[in-house]
């Protein structure tokens, strides 16, 4: 059998083009759009027409980068490989503590009932704005594999998350022909190969307009930890004062946009990881923009990307026996449990309660983690395909 070529005509023959009826409907739909624009029903995208970027692609790329001490011990490892993915025995998302929120109702539209999530603009990491690298990148704008920056990158943190970056850019960023700075390379690897090396699919943009301005709604899945995700709504008009995130009819949290960007760090609804039938019927998360007077300006459906859509990285395992210090004697019939928690830096990734003397187990993406329990804290380093054993036995001092 020769393997140099494949013939897909067998399949393309099966799939006909649109029928005349379908074609007619499609034509009518396009005609409606065209006529709407001609009649001025579709408002021009004001600021994009006023500024020189008008003819540049607006591809808002979101990169997640772990910048702080959590992953410094392994600077040679892709930052994104330090994220945690669910293991077979990882605890359920319900055990993950929600992002830090600061309940307040100051200035909030009356009908918004969620809690405010901390969301702040932070300095753009130095590695990202290194002018020399940017210049080097921009010297090769015509080549695939290079990054053409358009506009100013913005950096944010939501729910005390690590920094992520949003920028308006024309992005064709791939590792091989771009500068070799490890952080840039990591970022480019992320863009080229996606989270967990599975392609660009993980970040999904869906366009919408607010007050006639084109916006983009993106998702950073499974970040900064498995089962959690960051929604980013970018290019919001300046009069958007509040943005809420709601699911199943409840406003769960809200933020004040910063520099035209709103973001939410939220748990991924469990139904998104369910079977097709479950996922298909799951409601969309909704993000809603309000002005300072509490008037709703727009509401958008947020992507329902599930875990399977962006794959998993090779993982390692940390396991061991966890025993509880129970004093001189355990009362008859009483079963003692010990809680083991896994942290990445200060972020709680998962917890598991096991019977005293039994084994806990976390399956995680390679990186440096901290295990905590009654014994205090212990740092472990996980490598792909390896099992790290960390036992927490009853110490001699425990009587």
């Amino acid at each position: 059998m020769t393997d140099s070529q494949l013939d897909f005509s067998a399949l393309t023959d099966v799939i006909p083009g649109p029928t005349p009826e379908v074609r007619e409907r499609l034509t009518a739909r396009l005609q409606t759009l065209i006529e709407s624009e001609q009649q001025g029903h579709v408002e021009p995208r004001g600021r994009w027409q006023r500024v020189p970027w008008t003819h540049r692609a607006l591809v808002v790329a979101v990169a997640a980068a772990i910048l702080v001490v959590f992953f410094v011990p392994l600077p040679h490892v892709s930052l994104f490989k330090n994220l945690v993915s669910p293991g077979s025995r990882l605890t359920t998302p319900t055990s993950v503590v929600p992002a830090t929120v600061t309940p307040t109702s100051q200035g909030l539209p009356r009908d918004v009932t969620g809690v405010e999530q901390s969301f702040r603009a932070v300095p753009v990491p130095s590695w990202f704005v290194n002018t020399e690298e940017k210049a080097a990148i921009q010297r090769q704008p015509g080549q695939m594999g290079c990054l053409t920056m358009v506009g100013q990158p913005l950096a944010f943190s939501v729910g005390n998350s690590p920094t992520f970056i949003v920028w308006n850019g024309s992005l064709t960023a791939f590792k091989p022909v771009c500068p070799s700075h490890p952080h840039i390379a990591t970022y480019l690897e992320y863009e080229g190969n996606g989270l967990a090396g599975t392609g660009y699919d993980g970040v999904s943009g869906s366009p919408g307009t607010v007050e006639g301005t084109a916006t983009t709604l993106l998702l950073i899945p499974d970040w900064p930890a498995a089962g959690r995700q960051v929604y980013v709504w970018a290019d919001l008009p300046s009069d958007v004062a509040y943005v809420t995130y709601s699911y199943e009819g409840r406003d769960l949290t809200w933020v004040r946009p910063q520099r035209g960007v709103a973001a939410f760090l939220v748990p991924r609804p469990a139904v998104f990881d369910g079977s097709y039938a479950v996922w298909y019927t799951a409601p969309f998360p909704l993000v809603t923009a309000y002005n300072a007077d509490g008037v709703q300006l727009a509401r958008e459906k947020a992507p329902r990307v599930d875990g399977d859509d962006f794959g998993r990285s090779p993982s390692g395992v940390v396991t061991g026996v966890a025993s509880v210090c129970h004093g001189p004697r355990v009362p008859a019939g009483e079963v003692l449990h010990v809680k083991v928690s896994l942290y990445s830096g200060s972020i709680l990734l998962a917890s598991e309660s096991v019977r005293s003397g039994a084994k806990y187990r976390f399956s995680v993406i390679p990186g440096s983690y901290r295990l905590t329990g009654w014994w205090g804290s212990r740092t472990v380093t996980i490598r792909a395909g390896h099992i790290v054993v960390a036992n927490f036995m009853i110490p001699k001092t425990c009587i």
């Binding site: 059998m1 020769t2 393997d3 140099s4 070529q5 494949l6 013939d7 897909f8 005509s9 067998a10 399949l11 393309t12 023959d13 099966v14 799939i15 006909p16 083009g17 649109p18 379908v22 409907r25 499609l26 034509t27 739909r29 396009l30 005609q31 759009l33 065209i34 624009e37 001609q38 579709v42 995208r45 994009w48 027409q49 003819h55 540049r56 692609a57 607006l58 704008p141 015509g142 695939m144 594999g145 024309s170 992005l171 064709t172 791939f174 091989p176 080229g192 392609g199 660009y200 699919d201 999904s204 869906s206 366009p207 084109a214 097709y276 996922w279 298909y280 992507p303 599930d306 859509d309």
Partner: protein
């Protein structure tokens, strides 16, 4: 091919001042985009996604950058993004195709139907990112360069993914019977 791309770009540029000019692009590519989406998500959704593809293209035509690829690649990129947003539908479609005759013409022989089913089953087993490359090339008819632009991946990645996917398809098909092999894209 270059003339077609020029014409596409000219029509797109003209549509900025005269929106009806966009209809020329629509006429030229609607069949291909619909066929591509039909294969990926099924005919039920293909109509909506085709309409959405052209609606997004029309709404975003000012953002088109010729240096990033042809208009055709741009359109298939939009269509592919829509497929990604409906990934589950694609999975179901591909699997369903593997389980039925996929609406094959009644005049097809049992051998032809069986060949289609084997190919569909083999496609269903590919990684999504490999399948994207294979289908954009195989069904959409894009060349390597256009595929790279459409999928936002380097041309080297297109080649490697296509090569790996082809190898896996060959292996899968070999397990289920002989098949014909022809038709690489133009590099």
């Amino acid at each position: 091919m270059a003339q077609v791309d020029d014409s596409d770009e000219a029509a797109l540029a003209a549509s900025l001042a005269e929106p009806p000019s966009f209809a020329a692009l629509f006429e030229r590519h609607v069949d291909g985009v619909y066929r591509y989406l039909s294969f990926r998500v099924g005919q039920d959704m293909a109509e909506d996604l085709t309409a959405e593809t052209f609606a997004r293209a029309f709404a975003g035509r000012r953002r088109y950058q010729a240096e990033r690829g042809s208009v055709k690649a741009w359109l298939y990129g939009i269509a592919t993004n829509l497929v990604r947003e409906n990934r589950r539908c694609e999975r179901r479609r591909v699997k369903a195709l593997a389980l039925t005759d996929g609406g094959a013409p009644a005049t097809d022989s049992a051998t032809q139907v069986a060949e289609r089913l084997r190919l569909a089953a083999a496609l269903a087993s590919l990684k999504p990112e490999w399948r994207s490359v294979v289908l954009v090339i195989g069904v959409g008819g894009l060349n390597y360069e256009e595929t790279a632009a459409a999928l936002h991946i380097p041309i080297g990645t297109v080649r490697s993914r296509y090569s790996r996917a082809r190898t896996q398809l060959i292996t899968s098909l070999a397990d289920s019977g002989e098949h014909n092999v022809t038709g690489d894209p133009v590099s």
